[in-house]
Symmetry: C2
Subunit: 201 residues, 2 copies
């Protein structure tokens, strides 16, 4: 997903709602897009400058003369147009880099029980996120009348479905692998005296 400057799109999307400063944008991305989009601190300011130079946003407050003045940006018609065009393009998928599953895949090369511990830990984190999301959802319920409300609902639902599946997998997998790893460990200790069976490959 390099070479695409995908940072610009969440910025344009948020500026469609209302004018914001770089700092606000950072906070909004962190707060509302968090579950499916994370932005790097250092990418927002360069991107704002690029968007301003290409006329997709304008600075409506702050002259950049005195230092550290609050700079507020608003989207232009061109920006809205570009965003619209981008939305119509087919979305590209992030190339997966799932360390958790990679460690599961090579669990036999790690220390005894380490990966099972990761799975238990993962289960717990997912459960925590699940509770947090449910709480946030009840907060958002108050804005039922917002035109974007139905879309927000579907996004909550997406998170809920994924987390449910994740939890189910953790439970299944622990049930399947826990007895197995115990048995293997026993077998290994039994044979280690003789031939180091566990090192064979």
């Amino acid at each position: 997903m390099a070479r695409t400057q995908s940072t610009q799109y969440p910025i344009l999307g948020l500026l469609c709602i209302k004018p914001l400063s770089g700092y606000d944008l950072r906070a909004e991305i962190e707060g509302t897009l968090n579950s499916f989009w994370r932005e790097s601190e250092g990418q927002i300011y360069p991107t704002l400058r690029m968007l301003e130079e290409t006329g997709q946003i304008v600075r409506i407050e702050g002259q950049r003369k005195q230092a550290r003045e609050r700079q507020v940006y608003a989207i232009t018609d061109l920006g809205r147009q570009r965003l619209r065009a981008w939305i119509a393009e087919e979305p590209r998928m992030q190339s997966p880099r799932n360390e958790f599953l990679l460690k599961v895949w090579m669990m036999r090369h790690g220390p005894e029980g380490a990966v099972l511990a990761h799975i238990r830990q993962h289960r717990q984190q997912v459960a925590i996120r699940m509770a947090a999301a449910a709480e946030l959802q009840t907060l958002v319920e108050r804005n039922r009348s917002f035109p974007d409300f139905p879309v927000w609902q579907t996004l909550f639902r997406y998170g809920a479905l994924m987390r449910e599946a994740e939890l189910a997998w953790c439970d299944e997998t622990l049930a399947a692998l826990e007895p197995l790893e115990r048995r293997e460990a026993k077998a290994a200790t039994c044979t280690r005296k003789g031939k180091k069976l566990i090192e064979q490959r």
Copy 2:
């Protein structure tokens, strides 16, 4: 996930199974880790050099004297040790950058029906991957006796659960948003003659 050189770990993991060349590694990552790990073409060779310099792998074929000779690498004890230590560390999560959900989130700023089309397209792709995974799984079933077989099973199961959830979400969401977008479009065309209601914000 920068600054971590995470590319080294799938390489070490694969070399635990058997010695391979850079080209082989690329093919193996593409073929077997594909569903949760993707590696960039240009990252494998620099990483191999780094691993060789730090003594985690050794070249067992190919002298790098004559050009374009096949270079085969094997893991060393140090490499195995490092991998083991890494597996024990808590896995870090990839920061999400889901263009698909981002477009869903801002669907009202895109052209009429564009995002619904993306959702239908997504549904179809997931269904295709689902069928492909099922086929691959029947192939792997033949290696029931492999020590890694139970782990492979859980990884297949992970993919299956996620894809099921994904499909369910697509169906739900299409059912929820299709009638809505149609109604809004009608309302918009009705009022556009008067006040451009759709532009209000």
